[in-house]
């Protein structure tokens, strides 16, 4: 059955995008030393704005501003810091619709997700850590835990504002000041956040935002005036950062790649599992480090499950991210589209069977149809490498032990999923899966109170919850 939908476009008038943006240093927008770059809407390839490129001197200025602000900020009573964070949380709620639209325009994710997932979680994250600012003495890190100083924070393009919240909220709550570098392709919500800091009356220099490419981030991470490095992104860059900070005093947390197994047993509630599989890999176009990119299905139910999955995928709506009915939006950049295409071609060349539902992709912009590979071997690149796109690799297993073996057969260890009605099996599996987050009979759930982070090459440290404070305290 095919449902026809009338267009349900969100209005882009709720956000005013300036033609150009500067760096946010010491409470003011300033020019950058490097050549400005353009940020585009990946759904239309239209240029949204020009953004300043921070060079080493700009990074230096930003770190100096953060250092200057650190003394006063860290000396504020926790209750006062808390109130600034509560203010920020409230302003995010007040400007939620504008932020959601801006995120969707700059990133390409469906408005349904930026509106219902990203922005609410951003506000919630600030509310949560606001409440910790005056309770740090009770957090289990000793009677008077100290902040670290200036935090260098480098974040990715897949959840631009959410990753900003995960970095800035706990850092500020603990009394640190920050210099944050948003991803090159998605700087706009971070710059909107800079305005929010101004509206909240946050003291100058407590939050500084420097935009630019990877080189800007590298300069920030390597800066000798930085006490803490927090990075979310690829394992390759994470490794470089770990090398850069070696032998020094900088404290580091890294949240890196993943290749999660989503394991479906024969007794799983099939319809729920199908929804979980779809949410696991096609949420945010699969641009999710914890995406359930490897489906491990019990051999006896393989045919039944795949038939149900194909039926469900045929109903996914791929296209205009600003349409409120859209399920799968645009790929974030031409470079990422090329990476996905290359890995998918490798999957076919290595002998896996490729399938996508029939769907019309827009002519302009960066698009990739939801894709399922069957007949995947563990040795295939699509089973080993992070695709970071809407591509699912299906493997099978016969016993729980084999499922564990295959799930753990990866250098990553960020997340995993288990689907079964048998409680003891869930707990048995959860004990054995070497991953920082295990979703049982659900997938891709996030909450500010819930620690998130990986085992093995998915990085170290946790974000969220009481555990997330440790990254920003001298403990």
């Amino acid at each position: 059955m095919r449902f026809e939908y009338a267009p349900a476009p969100e209005s882009r008038d709720v956000v005013e995008i300036q033609p150009s943006y500067g760096l946010f240093i010491e409470g003011r927008f300033t020019d950058g030393g490097g050549a400005a770059f353009k940020t585009v809407n990946p759904a239309t390839e239209e240029t949204l704005a020009e953004v300043a490129r921070a060079d080493e001197a700009d990074v230096d200025r930003a770190v100096a501003a953060a250092r200057k602000a650190f003394g006063t900020w860290s000396a504020l009573p926790g209750a006062e810091r808390a109130k600034y964070l509560f203010r920020i949380a409230r302003i995010i709620q007040e400007r939620a619709r504008e932020l959601a639209v801006l995120e969707t325009l700059d990133n390409g994710k469906p408005i349904r997700e930026s509106r219902d997932v990203d922005v609410p979680l951003v506000a919630a994250h600030f509310f949560y850590y606001a409440g910790w600012a005056d309770k740090l003495a009770y957090a289990g890190f000793g009677p008077a835990p100290r902040p670290l100083g200036v935090a260098a924070q480098v974040i990715p393009w897949n959840f631009p504002l959410m990753m900003l919240a995960w970095k800035i909220a706990p850092a500020l709550a603990c009394g640190n000041t920050v210099v944050l570098k948003p991803a090159e392709t998605t700087p706009l919500t971070a710059l909107a956040f800079a305005e929010i800091c101004v509206q909240a009356g946050l003291p100058a220099g407590v939050v500084n935002i420097v935009t630019g490419p990877g080189a800007t981030g590298a300069a920030l991470v390597a800066h000798p005036g930085v006490d803490k490095v927090a990075f979310t992104g690829s394992t390759r860059v994470g490794r470089e950062i770990a090398r850069t900070v070696a032998g020094g005093r900088k404290k580091v947390t890294l949240e890196l790649g993943g290749k999660a197994a989503n394991i479906v047993f024969e007794d799983a509630p099939l319809d729920q599992a199908v929804e979980g599989i779809v949410n696991g890999i096609f949420f945010n176009q699969g641009h999710v480090c914890c995406a359930g990119s490897r489906l491990l299905v019990a051999e006896p139910i393989q045919d039944e499950l795949l038939a149900a999955l194909r039926r469900r995928l045929a109903t996914l709506r791929v296209g205009d991210p600003m349409d409120k009915n859209t399920d799968v939006g645009a790929i974030n950049s031409a470079a990422q589209l090329a990476r996905i295409t290359e890995l998918v071609e490798a999957g076919e060349a290595e002998g896996a069977t490729r399938w996508s539902p029939a769907c019309d992709l827009p002519e302009r912009g960066y698009w990739f149809a939801p894709t399922v590979f069957t007949g995947v071997a563990q040795s295939h690149r699509i089973a080993r490498e992070e695709v970071f796109g809407p591509v699912l690799s299906v493997l099978t297993f016969r016993t729980p032990a084999e499922a564990v073996e295959k799930a753990n057969n990866t250098p990553y260890g960020l997340s995993a999923g288990v689907w079964t009605e048998k409680g003891s099996r869930i707990l048995w599996m959860a004990d054995r899966l070497r991953a920082g987050v295990v979703w049982a009979n659900t997938f891709n759930r996030f909450d500010p109170v819930s620690p998130f982070g990986g085992y093995k090459e998915s990085g170290y440290g946790r974000e969220g919850g009481r555990h997330g404070l440790e990254a920003y305290l001298d403990v």
């Binding site: 032998g247 009979n441 659900t442 109170v449 620690p451 009481r466 403990v475």
Partner: protein
């Protein structure tokens, strides 16, 4: 040791401790260990890269069993190590006196502290998850539980000073939570480490949970730091240049790194040496009918 006018003592061959066995170095190498006053004590095995790799294989093999043992059981085993160490007190007093040139009374205090430290850590086995785990009140109909789990195989570069107390203080917090380890003993004073291996071998510690290498730390530590099947490394015994080299090598597979820091082995150790090699796992499940 018991040379006297009428009888020649039977000396011990100091070997490595890998997978519960006491092999010589596969390289056939050894090095002379002397007392603090320069007197020859013994030829210790000088472990090679291959020995280090064998030790990692043994530690990896022991990991599922040890991490899967009940915390109660791991606590009992560590307590047993303390019992066995107490029984060998005199032997360690002699070895520490030789190694550090301290009076026997002081050496005895250090052995006592090492025993007490093992007892202290043993008690943590079944408490660490209560203290560092959590039930997280998420905004939705889900049970969300976080608990600490061992990181895996951890390499430990033991401190040069404190051949017994320093050693116990670095390996006990690693294994009590379920990790297995490869320890590079103090290069200067390795003999108490080998004798401690004999204690471990008779203490119900499964073979491979603790592996002890003697030899040149600058030769062995970088191999362990760069080894792709090691999950974490404690660089306590490394001078700054070696620590830098090892931390860089450790980046290759993003090992958890505990950097060297000034440590008073006599002080309350706190929990940071345990938490440095723990992962937090968070499990979600929907609540509903």
């Amino acid at each position: 040791m018991s040379d006297n006018g009428t009888r020649l003592g039977v000396r011990k061959t100091y070997k490595l401790y890998i997978g519960g066995a006491f092999p010589r170095s596969e390289s056939g190498r050894s090095y002379a260990v002397t007392s603090s006053k320069g007197r020859f004590l013994a030829n210790a095995a000088r472990a090679s890269r291959k020995d280090a790799r064998d030790a990692v294989v043994a530690a990896r093999k022991a990991f599922p069993g040890w991490s899967g043992a009940t915390p109660y059981n791991r606590g009992q085993v560590l307590y047993r190590v303390a019992e066995m160490l107490e029984g060998r007190r005199a032997q360690f007093v002699t070895e520490i006196t030789d190694a550090d040139g301290v009076p026997a009374r002081k050496a005895g205090e250090l052995v006592d502290l090492a025993v007490d430290r093992l007892v202290w850590y043993a008690g943590w086995a079944d408490k660490i998850a209560s203290v560092f785990g959590a039930v997280n009140p998420v905004a939705g109909p889900y049970l969300n539980v976080s608990k600490p789990e061992p990181t895996g195989v951890v390499a430990v570069v033991a401190p040069p000073m404190g051949p017994l107390l320093g050693l116990v203080s670095v390996f006990a917090p690693v294994i009590v939570t379920g990790n297995t380890c490869v320890v590079v003993a103090s290069e200067r004073a390795p003999l108490p480490a080998v004798t401690l291996a004999e204690v471990l071998a008779t203490s119900d510690v499964p073979g491979g949970v603790v592996n002890i290498l003697t030899g040149r730390q600058p030769e062995l530590a970088p191999w362990l730091a760069g080894h792709m099947d090691v999950n974490g490394i404690d660089l306590t015994g490394c001078p700054a240049d070696l620590a830098l080299e090892c931390e860089r090598a450790a980046a290759e597979n993003l090992k958890r790194v505990l950097r060297p820091q000034q440590t008073d082995w006599l002080a309350d150790p706190g929990t940071s040496r345990m938490t440095a090699f723990l992962e937090t796992k968070t499990v979600w499940h929907p609540a509903g009918v």
